[in-house]
Subunit: 344 residues, 4 copies
Amino acid sequence: MISVGIIGGSGYIGKKLIQFCNSHPFVDAISVYAATTINKALHQIFPELQNQISNLIILDSNELSYSHDLYFTALPHGESLKYIPELIDKKKTVIDLSSDFRLNRLEDYTKWYKISHSFPSLLKNKVYGLADLFNNNEYKYNLIANPGCYPTAVLLSLIPIVKYLSDDILSISTVAYSGTSGAGKSANTDLLLSEMYGNVRAYNVNSHRHQPEIEQMLFSFGSKFPFSFTTHLLPISVGIYSTSVIHLHKEISQESINQIYNDTYAGSYFVRLRETPPNLNWVINTNFCDINVAVKKKVIVITTAIDNLIKGAAGQAIQNMNKFFNWEERLGIINSGVIDVQVH
Amino acid sequence: MISVGIIGGSGYIGKKLIQFCNSHPFVDAISVYAATTINKALHQIFPELQNQISNLIILDSNELSYSHDLYFTALPHGESLKYIPELIDKKKTVIDLSSDFRLNRLEDYTKWYKISHSFPSLLKNKVYGLADLFNNNEYKYNLIANPGCYPTAVLLSLIPIVKYLSDDILSISTVAYSGTSGAGKSANTDLLLSEMYGNVRAYNVNSHRHQPEIEQMLFSFGSKFPFSFTTHLLPISVGIYSTSVIHLHKEISQESINQIYNDTYAGSYFVRLRETPPNLNWVINTNFCDINVAVKKKVIVITTAIDNLIKGAAGQAIQNMNKFFNWEERLGIINSGVIDVQVH
Amino acid sequence: MISVGIIGGSGYIGKKLIQFCNSHPFVDAISVYAATTINKALHQIFPELQNQISNLIILDSNELSYSHDLYFTALPHGESLKYIPELIDKKKTVIDLSSDFRLNRLEDYTKWYKISHSFPSLLKNKVYGLADLFNNNEYKYNLIANPGCYPTAVLLSLIPIVKYLSDDILSISTVAYSGTSGAGKSANTDLLLSEMYGNVRAYNVNSHRHQPEIEQMLFSFGSKFPFSFTTHLLPISVGIYSTSVIHLHKEISQESINQIYNDTYAGSYFVRLRETPPNLNWVINTNFCDINVAVKKKVIVITTAIDNLIKGAAGQAIQNMNKFFNWEERLGIINSGVIDVQVH
Amino acid sequence: MISVGIIGGSGYIGKKLIQFCNSHPFVDAISVYAATTINKALHQIFPELQNQISNLIILDSNELSYSHDLYFTALPHGESLKYIPELIDKKKTVIDLSSDFRLNRLEDYTKWYKISHSFPSLLKNKVYGLADLFNNNEYKYNLIANPGCYPTAVLLSLIPIVKYLSDDILSISTVAYSGTSGAGKSANTDLLLSEMYGNVRAYNVNSHRHQPEIEQMLFSFGSKFPFSFTTHLLPISVGIYSTSVIHLHKEISQESINQIYNDTYAGSYFVRLRETPPNLNWVINTNFCDINVAVKKKVIVITTAIDNLIKGAAGQAIQNMNKFFNWEERLGIINSGVIDVQVH
């Protein structure tokens, strides 16, 4: 049994972390810290949680207790930096959902986030928690950088092919669409329902901060080809749909590409390989990542769907906690009887 | 431990029943019967359930096994009638989600549903399963008629006031809005996203079949006032929002009306009384019914929100099962750790 | 030919006013004034208008020119008050889309809007521009208070029955739903798509500021019965759907009620009486108000749909301009060939 | 003045054709033909058109009159073939909105549409009406194949770069998203609001019939590079958003690419080149095609938005009619005063 501190608990992702921790069999205490909603009861911020989660009171993140075993930091970039070094210093386990520790190289962080990084040494001493592609024994640091929402979808789609077929790839173009919850609960008139209803728009073209995060990983798996990444906003609240188009130098068969993906994800419960392009609705409210790989001559189209707040954030963070502690990776995330039967 | 048969398992409500039964600690076997998707695996009909529910195969409802302890019938009206009498005859427990046994009087059924009822005697020997208003000891028949989605929301809103203040009521006007899933997965062009996006419309004005179901119950609690019920379609998939306007003969205080509702629902986990009008989103994917009662002089406005597929159908059906067997009413419906801790 | 000044031209309603004036055959000059987007070209604020409206530059509303013949004030309440008295003093025609001059009695304004009214004498010397119910010769003041969006829908629904059947009415309950654009383009997190997607909620229960505006008019037509008005937010951008339930003391026939509505709206192009409840989509992007009146014994249900930004604001304002100047009421609002043929 | 026949007038596109023709200054007679809604008044099929379009009665397409000057065929592929040869034989002008005459080569038609083409000679003797890229004098046949919705968006995006930079292109990947109205008003349960709300899915991956139509045109402008085209369904009714990613062999400057697009569309009213990615809402209910071209080193991202029913169908068809007759291309499509002033 562990005690968990959630720093930044009043946003969309914080709420999911609280819910998952609340139903996790090995978490017996939760404290939620925030900067602006201090001393409020949880159900005042999230009325939907009334009767569901015991009367938790939001604590002041400026008066953080160091009594917990593990901390989730669900904060904007730059903010996590204020808490994590001391937590690491005190030998706590930290799963950071910001982008402060995702990039490996200081110069990349500085270039893309335009702020100086106060503890660059930690950039090397962290696990990049792409949970479905790493074994438990790779969780060897007690700082886990939880991947971004887009990188989760894109990397799970692309790493198998990059790892095994890099030399055959002419180019990769990833075009991804996200619901508005990815932008958080911010008072931005561009995100009003009145503005977004029936609307779609590309944003941060050629400049999205998730691009270096994706490229860093693809490079580590051997990429040698041009890659582009374009993001769009959907007129829905939740979900990411990513379409990657891979042009090849030579033809490849559907069978051989299926073999690669089947082998890669043979032991992965949360990656579901599909025979048709997934529906986004199939993964909403779950930690699943659904992937379809379709080949025609020298073109591969990979379509991938995730829930950006779960698989792209809080769900994967819990999965990372489970893997770090060598627990069953589904604990707390899957509510069905199947897993209950296996665990209790 | 019981074994459950679900007849009509390939629709929106059937899917929810399967999910709830699958995570119910006292259900150890589930068989799903349907008429048109026989021999298919469950995940072929509901791809979102892949990896979540073991490889259940849909069985032929024409070859129903009588080996189960309890049957849910999630069928159109008229269809349930084909199965239920024999099941009752064999001493099985049946929770019927159709409208075949909701009305008490044969003449009402004939008038509103335009078909003859083959087993009218059962109309009297059933429980009308409005779960949050009945004690476990009122479940004295093994046929439970699960209330309609609108009646659930409207009756939970109105019964307290009708019971205690009937003489003071001048008129009640209930205006309710439902998501399109209430119409089932039917190939009706009026329900296409292309037609309904951004759209709203009233339907079945002065002629909705849920009206006699509501009036029958209000009458049993003492109604003596004119009542009207008007239904609308919302451009969303899930949820019912009901607004009841009660004109009174004399003023009443907010305090005294609060007292009535607090007393009625003191022991009810799934009814949440609210200090402000509920958001529909607060109850989606839950079995909660959120109610706000606002008084101003001689007008009371009651706003109520439910998930039509859960509290208005499958969730209440599971709650009825729990109450029938004298189990904790939350089993199988609430997935959070709170209930797990209390139960295991 | 007239010259028009639009004060408050950078909001949702201002944009519609600009578009209508731009296509109006008798408007030959338009100036747009605002407080915060001064010196910007119109297409910088409304990129959708590029190539459609000549390169209009937004002017500073603090440096208002008095050279125009008519002014539209599309401002929050309290703001219109700053401009209108001087405009009236200079013998200009003003159509005010705020609520500063809708109420007739100073005490009502003070009670509901919580600010003091600087020119209460004008409250009496104005036309309440409910365009489809007034003849051109009733436009005898050069200040026209454009009705609120909800009052437009509700009053067009109810005035005929109140006028002819007031004594037979036991109670009226109006339940109305609006798209989010009714709240304007304000940075309110409650109106984010992330919050409102799939959501519905009642708001300002028993306290909406449009209620005294409605009641004032119903009273002038003879109301003697209890009336309530409840507003909700829809998860769509545009449109109002209003449902009024009238309980009667005695039965009335569908024929006689049809007669009343047919007579009232015989000469009204923009009110379309329907044989079934209207779809909201039928009126979106138009100045039409679609009304269905359904009678069953002692209950009348009236369902009504309008576009809140057009019939509920800018479209009715243009219609009021047309009626004030004794022009064809459709000019500038209807773009089809039908009206072109008749006019040119 | 001409007389127009619209064959297939009861669908989404037919309705738009009727509206545009109705407001077109040089169309003085419209007849609408259909197969299933014969003898109904137009407003019975489209209640929103009541009071807007004179009481047009739908005629039987089996009793087609040859008295019109021009015919629009808004029919499924295979159906247009039944009418067009005889119309052409009678020297009528035909604008076909189906895909029966878009492809140039019989073998392509047979391969992609799986039916035999009864009049292949006409495949050569037609204009492919990509209106914004062709001069009026290129309309030399009286059969105009109106481009598909996706091809319109994609070709307007890509032809300039293909024409001028084909040798520098490594690969092009186009990923496009469409609202559900592109699928027509068909009773398909996959298109129900209940199924599509909050949903997204790719479809016809590597097999969409618009791909050969796009490739045929790109080839005619010099394409020598691999091209892929992937289509998705959006949970909205109207609009297409297309994102094309072009990987280049060498870097190109934003200035030089801007020059190419500015030159190409200098005289084009309906193509709006944008400095930021367009919002889909900017073009809805218009005939505009908004394009943004963003370059970064060796990657070009082109984002494009159109209304699929207007620029992608009925609007472009009217524009083609205007160009064929050497009329101002905006007639009937733009309703604002700008164009009225210039025309009358």
